[in-house]
Symmetry: C2
Subunit: 152 residues, 2 copies
C-alpha cells in the first residue's frame, strides 16, 4: 500500500536522534528507544542492521552504543529504507530475477518503473540532517532540476 514499515520509520527516527546528539560519542539502543517509546529490542535489531549496512558504527561494552558512520548530511533516507526494508519496487511483479511471471509482457511495468525511480530520487534527496533540522531547506532547490530529469 505504498507505506514505509514501522521498522523503517524507527530507523529514520533513530538516525535523526543520533544526528541531533553529536556531543555524545555513542548512544545505546535503549537510549534511543526510551526517547521515542520504541520497543528496545526491536530497535536494537534495526540498529544492528543499519550497522551491517555501514550506516552506523557500533561499539559494545560500557558507554558503548551506536553512532553515525558518516556525516548526517551524506546519509540519505533512501539508504536507510533500503537497508531495513530491502530493495523496493513499486510494481509487485518485479520480484528478483524472474521478472514478471504473468502474461507475455505486462507493459504496465515500464511506466511504473519510472515512477519507482522518481520516488527513489526523492528519498535520495533527503538526508538524515534534513530530518534533524526541522526545516529542510537544503534539499529543496538542490534537487529540483534533478527531479525533473528523473521523472521525465
Amino acid at each position: 500500500m505504498l507505506k514505509l514499515t514501522k521498522k523503517a520509520d524507527y530507523g529514520l527516527m533513530a538516525l535523526k536522534f543520533l544526528a541531533e546528539h553529536p556531543e555524545r560519542s555513542a548512544l545505546s539502543a535503549k537510549d534511543v528507544a526510551d526517547a521515542y517509546g520504541i520497543p528496545a529490542q526491536l530497535l536494537a535489531k534495526i540498529l544492528q542492521q543499519l550497522t551491517r549496512s555501514g550506516l552506523l558504527r557500533s561499539h559494545a561494552g560500557m558507554n558503548g552504543g551506536y553512532a553515525l558512520a558518516r556525516e548526517a548530511r551524506s546519509i540519505s533516507a533512501y539508504e536507510v529504507i533500503l537497508s531495513i526494508d530491502g530493495p523496493f519496487f513499486i510494481t509487485s511483479c518485479t520480484k528478483g530475477k524472474t521478472g514478471c511471471e504473468l502474461t507475455t509482457n505486462c507493459t504496465i511495468k515500464e511506466p511504473l518503473a519510472r515512477v519507482n525511480e522518481t520516488i527513489a530520487g526523492v528519498l535520495k534527496s533527503i538526508s538524515i540532517q534534513d530530518l534533524a533540522e526541522h526545516e529542510q531547506p537544503a534539499a529543496r532547490e538542490r534537487n529540483a532540476r534533478e527531479l525533473v530529469a528523473l521523472t521525465l
Copy 2:
C-alpha cells in the same frame, strides 16, 4: 515496503486493457482475467471496487461487462490505487485520526509528508492512457514544473 499490492497492479492492468479496446462496448471480468492470467474472481472484485469508485461503468447480463467511465486520459493511476488500496501515507504512524501515537512529536513525519505528496503527484500525472501507449510522452513535459512545485 513501498510497493503496490497485486490488486492495484491488476486494476491498473485491467484499465489499461480496457483503454486498449475501445471498440468493444464492454469487456467482462473474465475477458480481462484471461488476457493476463489473473484469477478471474479476484479481478471481478477489483473491477467492482473500481466501479463503486466511479472509474468504471458496469453492465450485468449477457454481453455485459465493464467499460471506462471516463476518457482514459482523464483517469490517473493515483485514482486507481486510491480506490483499491485506500489512502496511502508513506509514514506508518499517520493512522487515521489519532495521528502519531508515539512520542511527543516524531518530527520525522513532517519531511516525509512532503515525500508522500510528491509520490501522489507523480501518480496523478500518469493516466491510464499513458499506460496504454507504450511510451507516455504526454505525461512528461506536462507536469514537469508542477512536480517541482510539489516537492519543494
